[in-house]
């Protein structure tokens, strides 16, 4: 039977925070994060529109006399000119959205509005050249009206149908009064020349109908959007309430855990006293009693360790926004951990071999310390006496690591883990039979702590184990783990 197993562990961070943040006039609106994503989406959509204008121009230039364009009246280079102007504007918008410094001058909301206004003016040009009456071109405004209702509050989004109506009515008015020549994309032989003076009152009806449709659409979509946002904010409140309750419960259980320490200290103190009497006063205590005392002491020590581990695990639940991530020198933490555990290892004749290079990652040093200490401690505890533990800390030093990824590896030649138990090894309180036999004081939380840290920072854990021959655990820090403090903070806050 092949009892060597290799498994990689990776835990997704919990679901991202809500889309809603600020309140605007008593109503929630999209958070900056979502607005930034939509700025990018608008820019992409605009490139598509620009491509369509260029395609239309090219097709009209090449195919105008063919049957393909029968009924369509392509005129002039306006699509190309409009495409050029929109390309220039889109490039500017792209620079603002990608450049952090420029982005700080112009927040996402401002960028979105600049794009919307640019689009509305672009559309009025299309409406004029395609035909402001008798063609469906005015309904190009509908998309922006709908999108504004989704991104902004009801009152704010009203600006878009107002601007659209003003631009459209302005275009028709300029054409009616002769300042602009009315045009139509549809060939004269299909629809007849545009005669505004003949159209007269029907023109007013047509313009009014389009404007009413704008405002009707705004009303319907904004209502629907408001209902959806209300639902989401209710869900967010419920989620917050659940989170608050959970944190209160957690706080209470932590306080209770603290309370357990004192009585345990007292129990251990009394055990120590009994053993002290046996040693120093040569008082007769049956061998069985001495044996029992030692067993009680081991269990009491185990309980103390469990309390310490549970409290450590609880510290990992502290929200990241309350902590300050910074650049942490992992190699120094590894050396400190080895120094602390060296005497325990020496007592059992276990040697610790190291291969460490300077490595930095961004995070909370206390968290990484817990991960490193637990992995090294486990390797020592579950090694046989006289064995060697190898600790390495290098970039890219794992077959599944990218060149820039920091890798921390601990390898022992100890008891190993049965193949069928490896998938559960990071579960809370999980211990294999072999682990219990080897060390009855183990708590089963050490690796749960490692898992929690790995999940918080997106660290991959690779485990290779051979029952009776040893285990190798590698923690692979994600590329970009040496990013700026702000990036790590934002990434980990997404998980909150």
């Amino acid at each position: 039977m092949n009892d060597h197993v290799l498994k990689e562990f990776f835990w997704e961070k919990p679901a991202a925070a809500s889309y809603i943040s600020a309140r605007s006039g008593g109503e929630h609106q999209m958070s900056d994060k979502v607005l930034i994503r939509n700025v990018a989406w608008y820019i992409r959509l605009r490139w598509i529109s620009i491509s369509l204008l260029v395609l239309y121009y090219a097709a009209s230039a090449l195919l105008s006399r063919t049957d393909f364009f029968k009924g369509i009246q392509p005129r002039g280079p306006w699509p190309l000119l409009l495409a050029l102007c929109l390309s220039f504007a889109n490039t500017v918008f792209f620079l603002f959205s990608e450049n952090i410094k420029l982005g700080k001058l112009f927040p996402p909301v401002g960028q979105l509005w600049a794009q919307i206004v640019t689009d509305l003016f672009g559309i009025v040009i299309v409406v004029h050249y395609c035909g402001s009456v008798g063609t469906p071109s005015p309904f190009l405004y509908v998309l922006h009206i709908a999108l504004a209702c989704i991104f902004f509050s009801t009152k704010t989004s009203l600006l878009v149908p107002i601007m659209a109506s003003m631009l459209y009515c302005g275009c028709v008015a300029l054409e009616f009064f002769g300042a602009l020549t009315p045009r139509s994309i549809f060939a004269p032989e299909a629809f007849g020349p545009l005669k505004y003076s003949v159209m007269g009152q029907s023109l007013i009806w047509q313009v009014t109908a389009v404007t009413v449709i704008f405002f009707l659409l705004w009303y319907m979509v904004s209502r629907l959007s408001k209902i959806l946002r209300l639902r989401e904010s209710q869900l967010i409140r419920a989620n917050e309430e659940t989170r608050r309750t959970h944190m209160e419960k957690e706080k209470y259980s932590i306080q209770m855990t603290h309370q357990l320490k004192s009585p345990l200290d007292a129990i251990r103190s009394n055990i120590s006293l009994l053993l002290y009497y046996k040693q120093h006063k040569h008082q007769e205590l049956p061998l069985e009693a001495v044996e029992l005392l030692h067993r009680i002491d081991i269990r009491a020590k185990g309980m103390t360790n469990l309390i310490v581990d549970v409290l450590k695990l609880s510290r990992l639940n502290t929200p990241m926004e309350k902590l300050t991530p910074k650049t942490v020198e992992i190699d120094l933490l590894v050396k400190e951990a080895i120094d602390e555990m060296k005497s325990n290892a020496d007592n059992r004749g276990i040697s610790i071999e190291t291969d460490i290079e300077p490595l930095s990652v961004v995070g909370v040093d206390d968290h990484f310390k817990m991960l490193i200490e637990n992995l090294i401690a486990n390797a020592i505890i579950y090694s046989f006496d006289g064995a060697a533990v190898r600790v390495s800390c290098r970039k890219g030093a794992h077959e599944s690591a990218l060149p820039g990824e920091a890798v921390f590896t601990v390898a022992d030649s100890g008891i190993g883990i049965p193949e069928d138990k490896v998938p559960q090894m990071f579960d809370d309180y999980f211990r294999t039979k072999e682990a219990i036999n080897h060390n009855s004081a183990s708590t089963g939380i050490g690796l749960a702590i490692v898992k929690k840290v790995a999940q918080t920072y997106g660290i991959r854990l690779s485990v290779s184990s051979h029952l009776g021959k040893g285990t190798t655990v590698s923690a692979i820090f994600p590329a970009g783990a040496a990013d700026t403090v702000d990036a790590v903070r934002n990434n980990t806050m997404d998980a909150e």
């Binding site: 320490k261 007292a266 103190s269 006293l273």
Partner: protein, 136 residues
């Protein structure tokens, strides 16, 4: 044989230390509350004090008592009583108190030990301080 006062709010821990030191031939008194300990000290000056830090309702009671002792013996121009501070405070809150923090103004003690108490170490420190009361 010395007269040692043990001040700790946990009767089991106080009793355990008392038994160990009593078996070394010392006379032991235990007090669970700083205020009672002060009264006891007023009545009879101990040769050495084993003092906890945290007491119910007074998280820094031990520190305050140590300072009170220091002021009292300075005012009466008596030689200070050696104080062995024994505490689990670093396990409750990660302050990291140690011997390097011993200070005449803030932490006027002779030794700072962490709980759980190692009786051999306690015995050796008590023995040393009784023989060299001005040291520590």
């Amino acid at each position: 044989m010395a007269y040692i006062l043990i001040i700790d709010d946990d009767p089991d821990i106080a009793n355990a230390s008392a038994n160990v030191l009593r078996s070394e031939g010392h006379e032991i008194e235990t007090q669970l509350v700083p205020e009672d300990a002060m009264k006891s000290i007023e009545k009879r000056r101990p040769d050495l004090i084993v003092l906890d830090v945290m007491f119910p309702g007074d998280a820094s009671g031990g520190f305050e008592l140590a300072r009170w002792l220091s002021r009292k013996f300075k005012e009466t121009k008596q030689s200070p009583v050696p104080v062995v501070m024994v505490s689990a405070i670093n396990q409750k809150v990660p302050f990291g108190f140690s011997n390097s923090d011993i200070d005449d103004a803030w932490l006027p003690v002779s030794e700072f030990m962490e709980k759980p108490i190692d009786f051999e170490i306690l015995k050796s420190k008590v023995k040393f301080l009784l023989a060299n009361p001005r040291n520590g």
